[in-house]
């Protein structure tokens, strides 16, 4: 039974990843894809650049700028993967009319949704890389390869990506029991978390209650770990008391907790959807 489940899960992941890529790679021309891959992340980065240039003392030489730039760059994963995984529910249900068939098939639905997010994760990796390169080459952000803590970078990256993916599962559960305007739920939640996780400013700036919320998010520790790995230092005072190892442990633990909660919530939403006949509902307006 366990072996069968494992086989089903692997099959679900593989097929979903392939399907996700087929859908996402449906471009008019590769040229447009190239423009999209560069223009979108660079534009996002430039918004911050300009805000600093116009206002901050020292402009881009402000010591906070590299921290914020790195946080903003990696945050691309959050928007894209949250969106990719949660939108798969709406797309399959309302657009392709396939969700009901996924539920009838012997596949692991959570793994299937994770697989659907793989293409978005791949595209996000390209976008993040381009943004970081832009920062290093054009904006002169110092990130010499010799001083990067690659081990910490890889560990943080892996846990963070997993956390975001499971966050997408949680949102997918919400999408399952709401109308199609929750199509933008991934993006909306990513936008909201932008404020709480210290992506573009240290969470020290937030009022205390919001700081506590921020400290409860795995994303906060993820971005802090990535900054330390790439730049040698984090942003703000609040998290500076945590050693690297402690940071990674908190990240790992909170990610595992999020994963468990997300899967549990998704199955709860699934049962509710089955009871109310929502799995094949159409809510276009």
């Amino acid at each position: 039974m366990t072996r069968q489940r494992a086989v089903e899960s692997i099959r679900s992941l593989r097929t979903a990843a392939w399907l996700g890529w087929q859908i996402e790679s449906n471009w008019a021309t590769p040229f447009l894809f190239a423009i999209y891959s560069i223009a979108k992340p660079v534009a996002g980065a430039l918004i911050l650049v300009l805000m600093y240039t116009v206002i901050a003392q020292g402009g881009l030489q402000n010591p906070l700028f590299p921290q914020i730039f790195v946080g903003n760059a990696f945050y691309i994963y959050v928007a894209m993967v949250l969106m990719g995984v949660s939108q798969a529910v709406i797309e399959d249900r309302e657009h392709y009319g396939m969700l009901k068939y996924m539920y009838v098939a012997p596949l692991n639905i959570c793994v299937y949704l994770l697989g659907r997010g793989v293409a978005q994760a791949a595209m996000a990796t390209v976008a993040v890389s381009i943004t970081l390169l832009f920062g290093i080459i054009v904006l002169g952000i110092p990130m010499p390869p010799a001083s990067i803590d690659w081990g910490m970078l890889f560990a943080a990256w892996l846990f963070g990506l997993a956390g975001v993916a499971f966050g997408g599962i949680l949102l997918g559960g919400i999408a399952l029991i709401t109308a199609r305007h929750s199509f933008s739920i991934g993006e909306a939640v990513a936008g909201a978390l932008y404020m709480l996780c210290g992506a573009i400013f240290p969470i020290d700036v937030l009022p205390r209650p919001l700081q506590l919320l921020g400290q409860a998010l795995p994303l906060t520790y993820w971005l802090e770990a990535l900054r330390r790995a790439l730049l040698g230092a984090g942003a703000g005072e609040l998290l500076s008391s945590l050693a690297d190892r402690e940071l990674l442990l908190i990240l790992a633990g909170s990610t595992i907790l999020l994963a468990v909660l997300s899967v549990w919530f998704y199955h709860w939403a699934e049962n509710l959807a089955r009871e109310k006949g929502l799995i094949d509902m159409q809510t276009m307006y």
């Binding site: 449906n26 008019a28 600093y52 003392q57 305007h181 933008s184 573009i200």
Partner: protein, 275 residues
């Protein structure tokens, strides 16, 4: 019974198509959370960035105003420009095409219907700014402010109709175009900072997006002291340009929709599904 005139069909279509939007939002209210409350947090993020770098308090007002107008831009991109793609996928588009009505009437109906939700979001952001972040405004001229806002919307929705003609032809590929138009437009239109920071030439180019001049003019009318050093063009010039953009985009949209419909009909794309 006499045949209805073209104008009668036009206005009935507008009302008919606005109805599902308005009613749909009432029947499933989760959008209040996803499309109103959550975006407030995103706007707040930019407010805190300015606080982190010790920006003058007026910049909070700039962000709040930009956040409010973001609602309209996203509505144009996703609930208007891409809408024909969704309608095609569900089989509604062909029923619209064979009806003796105009696609512009359908789009206008969508815009009016969608505006209810969009305006709720915009007002929520403004309320956040006034109540939570204590943004202080000094309104220079209410008529000018209303004029700028309305003209910005007319021009913006005209642009949205123009974009929607692309979706008639390009289907899902055009949704990537919409995606592409989010962050770059947030950047060049000065959603979160005065557009003059981009330099005259870039700001001038960005003025083709109605929100650029609309935001700049509204900021001048609400934060005159700070905007004295950051303004792009005089408010009256910006009003004039917005008026021309309104007329221009609506005219272009009409032509483009007709042309794209013809082209789609020739290439057999009006009823292609499952892209």
């Amino acid at each position: 019974m006499s045949s209805p005139t073209r104008w009668e069909i036009f206005w009935r279509t507008v009302m008919g198509r606005a109805y599902p939007r308005v009613v749909g939002m009432q029947r499933e209210r989760s959008w209040l959370f996803f499309e109103t409350f959550l975006p407030l947090l995103q706007v707040s993020a930019f407010v805190f960035v300015y606080r982190a770098i010790h920006a003058p308090p007026e910049f909070t007002g700039f962000v709040v105003l930009g956040g409010a107008m973001t609602a309209y831009w996203l509505n144009v991109l996703w609930s208007m420009a891409t809408q024909f793609y969704w309608e095609k996928e569900t089989g509604n588009l062909e029923l619209y095409i064979i009806a003796p009505t105009s696609l512009m009437a359908i789009l206008l109906g969508m815009a009016i219907g969608g505006m209810v939700g969009t305006t709720v979001r915009a007002l929520a952001v403004i309320a956040l700014g006034l109540l939570i972040f204590h943004v202080e405004v000094s309104v220079v001229s209410v008529p000018q402010l209303l004029g700028v806002f309305l003209l910005t919307l007319v021009a913006l929705y005209g642009l949205g109709m123009l974009f929607s003609s692309l979706f008639l032809l390009y289907g899902r590929q055009a949704s990537h175009l919409s995606n592409l138009l989010q962050e770059p437009i947030f950047l060049v239109s000065g959603f979160y900072f005065p557009v003059s920071a981009l330099g005259f030439v870039v700001a001038l180019g960005a003025s083709v997006i109605p929100i650029t001049l609309g935001l700049d003019a509204m900021r001048q009318l609400l934060f005159p002291t700070m905007m004295a050093q950051f303004r792009f063009l005089d408010v009256r010039i910006e009003l004039g340009v917005l008026a021309m953009l309104s007329i221009g985009f609506l005219w272009l949209a009409r032509r483009a929709l007709s042309h794209m419909e013809d082209l789609s009909r020739r290439e057999g794309r009006l009823t292609v599904r499952g892209q």
